[in-house]
């Protein structure tokens, strides 16, 4: 599930990004370096925001970035960055973004389980601020593990 996908190598904290495109680059880079997506997937994630609008900012301070399986996904994957400074995506309700997840999916059944757990984590009171404050990938993973253990 989420902890099977979200490994230390898929998390980066206190990342500097000047605009939303850099947020997509940085979040996507973690999946690219892990050889889980092709480079074109990052471009597709940006295009999706250009085409569909900034509704990827699904909740206060949180972006959920993705494109389609056929845009260059090698395996189900998930990455997370926390931002040194919040970044505007142009979403009037939920800006600015403090943390961003990027995912790729080729196996829908597994993907549904991952998103289900991610929803549980994000519905937690102050989850975004708690994740944004963490200083390392380990701390973030421990936090997520604790929330899921309470379910």
């Amino acid at each position: 599930m989420i902890l099977d996908l979200l490994k230390k190598k898929n998390i980066a904290v206190n990342i500097k990004a000047d605009d939303w495109e850099e947020v997509v680059d940085e979040t996507g880079k973690l999946l690219l370096e892990a050889d889980q997506i092709e480079e074109r997937y990052i471009k597709a994630m940006k295009q999706s925001i250009i085409d569909n609008g900034p509704y990827v900012v699904i909740g206060k301070g949180i972006a959920l970035l993705h494109a389609r399986p056929e845009d260059g996904v090698k395996e189900n994957c998930l990455s997370l960055i926390t931002l040194a400074e919040p970044v505007e995506f142009g979403n009037k309700n939920n800006d600015p973004v403090k943390i961003a997840f990027a995912f790729g999916t080729v196996d829908n059944e597994k993907h549904v389980k991952t998103i289900s757990e991610l929803s549980v984590v994000l519905m937690e009171e102050s989850a975004v601020d708690n994740i944004a404050e963490k200083e390392s990938a380990e701390e973030i993973l421990n936090y997520i593990e604790d929330i899921l253990a309470q379910q």
Binding site: Y55, V56, S119, L122
Partner: protein, 89 residues
């Protein structure tokens, strides 16, 4: 209550929305189903309500009432909107 949760691709925000609506329906004992759809595949789908982000909601043309959600991770907002929709049925 039959609900469609809709976003651009049916993979991301609509899935988060589906999970959260289902949770509220379960807690409140509301019978029904929540199905994920992308924008291009909702025509011809039967539903009582369509839930989506504001941006996507504006693009939807469907006989069912569209309910837009500002913050898909806000339990309170989703609960209020699900309960209000259920009462209107």
């Amino acid at each position: 209550m039959r609900v469609l949760a809709v976003c651009g691709m049916g993979l991301g925000s609509s899935l988060v929305l589906k999970m959260n609506i289902e949770k509220i329906m379960e807690q409140e004992g509301i019978e029904g189903s929540v199905e994920v759809k992308d924008l291009s595949s909702i025509m011809g789908e039967q539903a009582d309500y369509i839930f989506a982000s504001e941006e996507i909601g504006e693009k939807i043309e469907h006989p069912a009432e569209v309910i837009s959600v500002k913050n898909m991770t806000d339990k309170k907002e989703i609960k209020e909107k699900v309960l209000a929709a259920y009462k209107k049925l």
